[in-house]
Amino acid sequence: VATRYSSLAAAEDRVSKRLENWTRDYAPLPGIPDEFVDSEGRSRPHWLRLLTAFATYHPGEMRQRFATADRRIRNRGVSYRVPGEKEERDWPIGRMPLLVTEAEWRQIAEGVCQRAELIERVLADVYGEGRLLASGALPAAAIAGSMDYVGAMRGVTPPGGRWLRLYAVDIGRGPDGAWWVLGDRTQAPSGAGYALENRLVVSQAFSDLYSQLNVQRLAPFFRALSAGLKSGGQRSEPRIAILSPGPLSLTYSEQAYLARYLGFLLVEGDDLVMREGRVFVRTIAGFKRCDVIWRHIDADWCDPIELNSSSRIGVPGMLEAIRQNGVAIENMPGTGFIESRAMLAFLPALARSVLGQGLLMPNTATWWCGQPKERERVLDEFEQISIASAFGNELPGMKGRSSVIVEELSAAERARLRDAIAARGMDYVGQEVVRLSTTPRWVEDALEPRPFVLRVYCAATPKGWRVMPGGFCRISDRPDARAVSMGDGVESADVWVLAEKPVEVSSLLPSPESVRITRLLGNLPSRAADNLFWFGRYLERTEATLRVVRCLASRSVDPDSPMRAGRQALDRLMGVLVGWGAVEATTPKQGAAATAAQGLRDWRHYGSALALARSARTAASVIRERLTYKTWELIARLESAIDPSPDRRLSAGEIVDLTEEGLTVIAALSGLFDENFNRGAGWVFYVMGRCVERGANTCRLLRQFAGSDATEHTLGVMLDLIDSQITYSSRYLVGVALAPVRDMALLDPFNPRSVAFQVNRIDEGIGTLPVLRRDGILEEPRALTTALQAELTTERAERLDDARILAIEQRLLKLGNAIAARYFLQGAAQGRAEKVTGLA
């Protein structure tokens, strides 16, 4: 007992020592409030509880938990994009959550709800009666300067019943320790989905702590938000869509995540169409009404007919549909002007006149220079304040900067800025200089105080405003940052609101009677069908290319193959790679190994295995909300499997190994789809994509290797390429001959690699898809498969010739086109709306 006791004591000693080290070395910045340490230098108790728990982990365990979190982020495909970059980045998640006590959170939440209500009323007045403008409480000129003020919405009643559905606000702790509002987000607030992702990852890495500390759950907030969005629709089961700018947007991964988490459709402008004052989604079963649109695109891009005519991501006629009460858009177009800094100058006084009470949470003191007194004050206190653009992202005359601290400007710059303010004061605001407070950031096994900004979310629900207990916290990597946005060196952190009592978990399950059982999820949007189809085709083409490369690489080193006969097979294989755009026409002159290497991993050639794998990923990225995390991870892994070390020269043997790696990943992906993908319409399109491609590829290979000039060698290659060597030798003991090979590759319905097998699968799938015609006549794709199937079933291998094989290949491609014409965007896919403007 004694030894056990002493080892326990030793452990306790180790824990308190680590804790002591962290606390002792933690030095808050002078004069700046800190979350962990108060102004007297005492550690706050709720932070000590977290750090004590951290200290009980071995340093190794700590690292391991962090590594787990990092891996999860990567595997789940949580990413964001930096403007101008093509590839997404992994989400930089911080190790340390931000802790807020329940008592303090209550105050924050009250302040945020009050502000949300104020903004809703201001919006309703500005677009409605205009009393605040008439009374002078809010100058019209302080609104008109914002490009996000949408005049076309004047006099419109929002179909969803309100202007603001989801509101977000950036807050920070001021020098006095109180929370201040730094900026409002009313256009299409981002980050709520990332907050949820952060929570999932961190709570799994530290699940024990998470329940010990009574961290408040986020799920109820999202359910309430979902109920709020639903209440905007006019049917009992409204169809809700998230309108995304597409995979190139900065926060696409978040939009996909929210769609999946909340069970909404993820759509782009092309998916939607306005007809007779309503908005519809194009699906494979025709147009389906869309009731509520949660927009993630800025208002200006929503409607190319009435707003920015260069927009290609909006829905022509959307504003008209709003006016005709045909669709609820959340948040309403036009809410964005609230975000302009000029508004910060008026909201404090508006709170008193609109709500009859002052703001519970103040915002950064701001003076709009469109008013003479305020402009004078700004020019008087010029050296002590910062100057920012009143409306835009860029300060007029200060390239690329939205705000400057006057003290930091040169004398010439100051003079220029003064003149500019005197000439067009309405473009500028003066603001007190914001200094952000700090919170601990984990830096190599130690804690460092770093400035942070907290974004809080508030949703209008059927039960009133509701604040997400948590939020999206951004922590800077520099101790002196005065503003924090997502970019280099900024981490996001989970935000833990610590309840005083244990958090109820069981009550989160919906009651059984409120859930209607359903097995299939609505109608598949055409664009999703399109991308699933193309994902299938690209994946299959990648596989075929890998097989050709493998065959080429392995034969290029085979010492047993007789020179001349082997040469022909090699030339043909290289010819296939040239024909498929995998290698340059001149590459084969450099030999089989060089050709194989280029066909494998030279992404500059669209037909190389690496380029095809990328195309498959691009197609999949558009439907990410329909794929499991594991699937997405494997899709991403395919490229690194094919090309793990881009700069190194490869031997033929290594090329064979890499193709094997790639084929293994594809096999795993196929297996994952087989095992996990719901057998709905989406599945059918994926399968059709693979089968059309596989059938056509097999025909092409047959013409090369099993044509009228086939040799024993080329027939061997053919069997290799369709993985049928073993089956062949078990069926035919006589060695390779033309007709049996052709039968096996083309007609044999039992061989999963034969063309007939592909056609049978397509036919089986297409029969389950919805039909638009009501006259009982087969739609084009079905008619084509039925005919092709009948021919392949009755065809005899002995009668086949090259022309016949080519005809079958062409009919498969025709089938692919017919599928596209019938199901994807109803023929509008390539003919994107072109704008015509008439000028006289």
Partner: protein, 289 residues
């Protein structure tokens, strides 16, 4: 003066068009000094019955929707308008007073100066234009006089050249080249006025052309025109200036629509579902009756 105006627009498309949607701003407004007596619009192929709404600038906007596949589209608008604008006789206030007053505008309605104060989609503000305007807008100069001077200088300093610019040429480019058409001159004058903090809008419409002495009027030879409206204080309201002709607007101009710039007031905005290119021909007749 009474006018009968016909405005015919013909599109020829390189490939069949499945669907045309858009808006028409072809119906002249009734406002101070201008009354619309009749208006008709006809399209070939026929469009769905158009709905009419009033946009944030007070323009009548008609919807355009043609669901039948077509290779050609003709839009013909005819209107009868009475124009009788009083000449400006009063002394106008100093421009600085107007600029200060505009910031206190109590509304965002179509008459409000607030909507003309800021840079807009097609008109960025640039220092060269503001400096150019300052030569006319000397301290305390009456706004009407200063604006007339600015319009006159634009007419003198710039060359009318339809080849130099197109619909989407930004104001600063046209300014640098010192050439363009009515749209460019209007944009330049607006940028210059806004640079001083004055509310200015873009106006599209028609101007009556007077044939050279001894020649007959040519049918269809008139054109759409564009000019500038400047807010001259609450007592005088919006007054229009034509920098292309160095005129204050009186009875030779018929206004159709106004907005912050061309993109708010263009006569036809349409989107077509098609693959091909298109050609466009416009004929305008402004006939005094």
């Amino acid at each position: 003066v009474n006018y009968k105006v016909t405005h015919i627009t013909r599109y020829t498309y390189g490939a069949p068009v499945e669907l045309t949607t858009g808006v028409l701003r072809l119906k002249p407004v009734s406002r101070d000094g201008q009354i619309l007596d009749s208006f008709q619009v006809r399209t070939d192929p026929p469009c769905l019955p158009p709905t009419e709404r009033i946009d944030p600038f007070g323009n009548a906007v008609l919807s355009l929707r043609i669901e039948k596949p077509h290779r050609e589209l003709t839009i013909e608008a005819s209107s009868e308008v009475r124009v009788d604008r009083p000449a400006v006789l009063e002394f106008s206030p100093p421009w600085e007073t107007v600029a200060a007053e505009a910031l206190n505008a109590p509304s965002l309605g179509p008459e409000s100066p607030a909507i003309g104060l800021y840079p807009s989609r097609a008109i960025a503000l640039f220092d060269e234009a503001t400096a150019y305007a300052r030569e006319s807008f000397t301290p305390r100069r009456p706004i009407y006089e200063a604006a007339m001077d600015l319009a006159t200088r634009i007419r003198a300093d710039f060359v009318y050249d339809p080849e130099a610019t197109d619909v989407s040429t930004p104001a600063d480019v046209a300014f640098a080249h010192r050439r363009g058409v009515c749209q460019d001159f209007a944009h330049i004058m607006i940028a210059a006025l806004r640079g001083l903090g004055l509310p200015a809008l873009y106006v599209s419409g028609y101007i009556r052309t007077i044939p050279p002495p001894g020649k007959k009027r040519l049918a269809g030879a008139d054109a759409s025109h564009a000019w500038v409206s400047l807010w001259c204080g609450s007592s005088m309201g919006w007054l229009d200036f034509d920098p292309t002709n160095a005129l204050a607007i009186q009875n030779d101009h018929v206004e159709v629509a106004r907005g912050r710039d061309y993109s708010d007031a263009s006569p036809i905005e349409s989107m077509v579902l098609s693959f091909g290119s298109h050609e466009l021909k416009v004929e305008v007749d402004v006939l005094p009756v």
